[in-house]
Symmetry: C3
Subunit: 345 residues, 3 copies
């Protein structure tokens, strides 16, 4: 069996609901160029982005009530990829169809299921994401394109010690606190969890702007890696005012959703949102939190893309391992195991 | 014998007369980088675009009365490619020459003869093109560069059903009329002819702007493919006012010249002109017809380049054939036959 | 033994003193990406431009008193490439180090020693360059990046006959004088010397602007090639006023330093300065001389990059040799000999 390059037969993040308007959207996932579209009745679909006639991208076509029409000679395809009209001739050739991919829309996230073969079909539904619908929270987000392999983004998310050096202006700075945080890493078959705690620390700039902390804070960072995405709960409460282990702990929360979907082996889509709980006595600072998060993630993008360019300048060189690499290393081993062909029983 | 990539030993369009001023013009044809120039006496020539000394493009040089002088060390080459002066030394080395290609200027079109070997020479002259010199017609045109293989441009010209979806704003729109046009395709050893007729149809925007049609029109499109170029006669007369088969039929005419010359296997030059017969009662609308044609061909360029990019994203995939592909398919077979080495008798 | 691509175990120009401020400077030499930096005490160093942890370029990091700190996770490296701090952990792994390259700063030139192996070390010091410290002279310069192989730049410097055609506006023009100059070429194991003399010639525009020549001039060009750089002494005196052979000859002098360091096989750094002796009766024209030299060298850059692009369009083609190629040809043979592995005795 050939070793796969990406984990297949699973749901990947394809976009956000608000990205899919009355125009088709071309986007490549796992080396497969797809077109996403939404018909006026609201139904969404994902097809191979190639008309089966002359191969124009269907993403250059037009959405109609019955489906997506090619912009070259007008062939019309329905949600299942079948061609249902060839202008100028009464019949449609039997071979006139394109591959369809299961697409789901849930909690304002679009999920696409990439199967190993056209026959393979999902046996489950994509995961829910509660904080896009929680009335205590407001959120915003964006889609960033990376000229770097997808796993470098997860490496970065699973080792937040980089905040000390990369994100001085927003959520970082104060190297000592970050590099010496209490760190716990656990993992299972398809998850890695990294918890970092910084008790009695200085609030960083974004925190001070968002929440009326009178002094020092107990701060947490909880990263939950799930192959297709990470959920990252960060936040802080007044120092000594509660327990890190209390799931209902008060204070300032930033709930981050991080969908990371490979585009090619060398590029990726990074779909992120951040949800926050506005303080009742303050003006809603969600736009500020989202804006600073956007800047923060743009800093990551600069670093990770430069890292990848440099890895290509120095091919085949080993990296020196240090203890903060525990989380990223577990996630990489987990992915490797998913890619290793299983012996048939 | 090695299979050729392009049809050789024939005339190809190299440019228009007005492009060749007092500066040399570098342009690649069939993978061969050439420089075209015109000396003050009006004589034109085409040489390999490489000084035989240090290999600077001769297209960076300067035209003089006796020929083209290299911009690095001043070697001077005549119209036949011979070096006739090496500054700073009395004699010219015998090996100092560059390959020359036969170049003709006729009806404001420059034709270059690309032979399989430096020894092969043309046995005929390039074809005439009457509508650049017909007093009833005025014309304009341009040269477009395509990042796509040349045959995709001919595919497009030989199947004008795409007007319905690609050129809605100018000469297209009204899908039903275009896709259901009467279609006749004929071919011979080196020609393909596609005739489409749309009797009793609505005039499209460009036609209405150019000619005072009182109502519906009888419209024709006649495409004549000639390997190196297409001649496309389109136009219309008042519905029912004459015969499609009358070569002297009245009405509005657009006579298109379409020289398509491969640059490389993946790129091409598209030299086009459109000639029209201004209506005696109207202001000359030639600039409008040429302007709208330029927009129309820019739309084709977007589609064809996207098609080619997409064909490269999906390598090795078969296309579904439909009846409107008859003309392009015949032209491709004809080219294939030209490229197949003939058995010696 | 494998044939080397570049001459190794020698000093190459890495930059100028004024380029190295409080920020690290990433630059690739001989296919080796390096970072140069200067600590606040003035000490300079060159390291491999790759953090040994996650491979971010160290040139994206920050200079501190003790060395250079990586911008991703904060590892700190000293001038010798040793990691002396890993934030967040007490010990530094033994393998945490990057390769250092000897770097010297002398006469405002930075010289880097590129050894064949990490163990090889310089046995000598880089050459002095007197005219950066001569009180009779003032100078300026710049660093140009070339998308062309380094030896094409030396070819150009060793054959100044190109001034006649490339530099008409500054130091050239007057083709007859340049192409028919008296030419003497000599060479030794690691040097080539080309002397051109143009007695009783017209002063070119830059000369007239810089010096009050009353009429015709005796002009000289002396090119001294030294593998890593050329020294080019050009200038002129009033015609008949002195001897070309007098080392203390009066007149207008332009002393050029030309460091040419390969970046990759297809690109190079060109570090140049020009020093001149201002005329006592005139306003200092050094800025004018440096500015015109900058324009002149930009003309060379256009020509040489076009030459290289064209050599790639016509791969494997032989060049026609003419006598002015003597100097460049000797330099190329000299380099070839340096690259040929020597038999052990």
């Amino acid at each position: 069996m050939m070793r796969e390059v990406f984990p297949l037969n699973r749901w990947w993040v394809a976009g956000f609901s608000w990205e899919l308007t009355d125009k088709p959207l071309g986007r490549t996932f796992l080396n497969r160029p797809l077109v996403l579209f939404r018909t006026p009745d609201g139904a969404v679909a994902a097809l191979e982005d190639r008309c089966c006639h002359k191969e124009l991208p269907l993403s250059m076509g037009a959405v109609e009530a019955r489906g997506l029409r090619c912009g070259y000679h007008g062939l019309l395809f329905n949600h299942a990829g079948g061609c249902i009209e060839v202008p100028g001739q009464p019949a449609v050739p039997a071979r006139a169809r394109v591959r369809a991919y299961p697409l789901r829309e849930q909690d304002q996230i679009l999920w696409v299921w990439i199967g190993a073969t056209p026959e393979s079909q999902p046996q489950d539904e994509p995961p829910r994401y509660a904080f896009h619908a929680d009335p205590r929270y407001t959120f915003g987000g964006d889609c960033y394109h990376y000229d770097a392999p997808w796993q470098l983004i997860h490496d970065n998310l699973l080792d937040l010690s980089h905040l000390a050096y990369v994100h001085l202006k927003t959520i970082g700075g104060n190297p000592g606190a970050h590099m010496n945080a209490q760190l716990t890493t656990t993992s299972s078959h398809e998850t890695v969890r990294v918890v970092r705690r910084m008790p009695d620390s200085e609030p960083p700039p974004t925190y001070t702007a968002a929440w009326p902390f009178p002094g020092r804070i107990d701060r947490w960072q909880e990263v939950n890696f799930r192959v297709s995405h990470c959920e990252i709960w960060t936040g802080a409460m007044d120092a000594g005012s509660g327990s890190f282990d209390d799931p209902e702990r008060a204070g300032f929360h930033m709930r981050g959703f991080h969908g990371v979907t490979p585009e090619t082996t060398d590029s990726a889509h990074y779909f992120w949102t951040v949800a926050t709980n506005p303080h009742p006595d303050r003006q809603d600072i969600t736009p500020l939190v989202v804006g600073q998060t956007a800047l923060t993630f743009a800093e990551d993008q600069v670093v990770i893309q430069a890292q990848w360019q440099n890895q290509r300048r120095f091919p085949g060189r080993a990296q020196v391992y240090i203890p903060i690499d525990d989380g990223p290393t577990r996630a990489r081993r987990l992915i490797d195991a998913l890619l290793t062909p299983q012996q048939p029983p």
